[in-house]
């Protein structure tokens, strides 16, 4: 973590953190993602928007091979993180998912203590040598997730006892604990009230300094608020990807315009 962004020495330009080329996803007979080419910049928040069933979550789940767990799902094409093919047979999906963490729509803390929720990942990945090490990782992760002050005196209480917004930040802390480089968020605020949502959005803004963040959201305003780049998916196609401020003031594609202005039939 925190290394310099990868630079293409010849072109002198910033290489994307994630690059996807000609990605196709099939669920059995259903062609869910069609020929998607997309570069995702490092230390940037990229929002995926689009109507339900457009493929945005499916594409997100390709980025840490979550689709591997679905038998009928087939992924084709090329997805690289820092230039490395993540679908290479030599890649261990468990290691990949530590590097590419994920936060889900519904907060899903383990039925364990707050402490153990965070400590679980570092333990199985062997990231700590001592109890003191682990204590530090837990405190650090909770701090980065903006939760430490609220829970520092009750780390042994169950994570499921926290409020929805706190649980979501706990899940973010859990993802951070294994030192990921990319954090994928699949509608992380859809089950939260506006205040908890604002806290998560503030957190996303802070995390952007150190992580590449990809967020799927149904809230257009949220995409406009938190992201620097926005990708619009429709019927399995990537219709348009660009600077968020451009997409929301002057989108290029008619379909993007219709969707973000609420004109889709």
């Amino acid at each position: 973590m925190n290394e310099m962004p990868v630079v293409d020495a010849e072109a002198g330009t910033l290489l994307p953190k994630i690059s996807a080329k000609k990605v196709q996803v099939f669920y059995g007979e259903t062609h869910a993602i069609k020929d998607v080419d997309l570069n995702i910049a490092d230390r940037t928040v990229t929002a995926f928007i689009g109507p339900s069933g457009c493929g945005k979550s499916t594409f997100l789940r390709c980025l840490n091979r979550m689709n591997d767990t679905i038998d009928i799902c087939r992924v084709e094409g090329d997805i690289r993180i820092d230039g490395e093919d993540i679908y290479d047979p030599k890649v261990d999906p468990v290691q990949l998912r530590a590097k590419v963490g994920m936060v889900f729509q519904k907060p899903n803390p383990f039925p364990k203590s707050i402490y153990d929720n965070i400590a679980y990942g570092p333990r199985i990945h062997g990231l700590s040598r001592s109890k003191a090490d682990l204590d530090e990782i837990v405190a650090n992760s909770l701090q980065k997730a903006g939760l430490y002050e609220e829970v520092k005196d009750r780390l042994d209480e169950p994570g499921t006892g926290l409020s929805g917004g706190q649980q979501q930040r706990l899940c973010i802390a859990r993802a951070i604990a294994v030192s990921p480089e990319v954090i994928l968020m699949d509608e992380p605020c859809s089950a939260l009230d506006p205040i908890a949502t604002a806290k998560i959005e503030e957190l996303i803004d802070e995390l952007r300094e150190n992580y590449t963040i990809v967020i799927v959201t149904h809230s257009m305003q949220q995409a406009a608020r938190v992201s620097q780049r926005t990708a619009f998916f429709h019927l399995g196609n990537l219709v348009e990807e660009g600077e968020t401020k451009e997409i929301f003031t002057n989108p290029t594609d008619r379909r993007t315009q219709d969707y973000i202005t609420g004109r889709f039939g």
């Binding site: 257009m220 997409i247 002057n250 004109r263």
Partner: protein, 236 residues
């Protein structure tokens, strides 16, 4: 463009645009009548022009309120956002056009006695015809989202400016010829300046029509053709 899924949003946008067009129509009439009251020294007509300005001001207030409400309730983006922003800006310009026409009408009331309008006001009348054309063209461009016409209006503002410069020189000559004519010429000079400003507002509106339709703010500063030399350094 297809309708919004939420139809009341369409109604609100239409209503704002309708009020802007109504303002445009009113300010056009105000300008025409202000000039004709000047040429004919018709003080009653001038008073009616002054009274009309209240309606334009009220409409501008309504446009702003509606736009603020739309932003608060709908959080418009893309085309919708540009429509709302353009409506607010354009109503601002039209309110100023109304003020400037009102100012001409006030001068008609202030001018004492009569004057040879054929001799003195011919240039002002001609200039106002051009400004009226510009205003009409840009309001049509707004209603039809016609960027080509808007661009044309933007280009033609130089003609209004050039006319202003020549009227300025002409009126200066009359003043030097006969100091008793200074008062009337000064009034006419201000009227000409007001018309020139109305031309500028038409240009602003044209730029907003372009922004509304394309999302691009016309950037290149048009060079200003005010060669009277008296406005140097004065913010427009």
């Amino acid at each position: 463009m297809p309708n919004h899924t939420v139809t009341s949003f369409d109604d609100e946008l239409k209503s704002v645009a309708g009020r802007v067009s109504e303002m445009g129509g009113l300010s056009e009439v105000m300008l025409t009548e202000a000039i004709s009251s000047l040429i004919r020294m018709d003080k009653d007509l001038a008073r009616r022009v002054i009274a009309q300005d209240k309606r334009v001001d009220a409409l501008q207030f309504e446009v702003e309120e509606q736009a603020i409400l739309i932003i608060a309730r709908r959080q418009p983006v893309a085309q919708d956002l540009r429509d709302v922003i353009a409506a607010m800006r354009i109503s601002n310009d039209l309110e100023r056009v109304g003020d400037l026409a009102k100012n001409i009408a006030k001068r008609v009331i202030a001018i004492e006695g009569s004057f040879d309008s054929k001799k003195f006001a011919l240039g002002v009348e001609h200039m106002s015809e051009l400004a009226q054309e510009q205003l009409k063209a840009v309001l049509d461009a707004y209603a039809n989202r016609d960027t080509a016409s808007a661009a044309n209006v933007r280009e033609r503002d130089d003609e209004v400016d050039a006319l202003y410069t020549s009227i300025f020189r002409e009126l200066l000559t009359y003043m030097m010829e006969d100091p008793r004519q200074i008062s009337i010429c000064a009034h006419l000079l201000f009227c000409a300046k007001n018309i020139e400003r109305i031309g500028d507002h038409a240009t602003n509106i044209a730029e907003n029509v372009i922004y509304m339709s394309t999302g691009v703010q016309p950037a290149d500063e048009r060079h200003k053709l005010d060669e009277t030399g008296v406005e140097t350094g004065v913010a427009r």
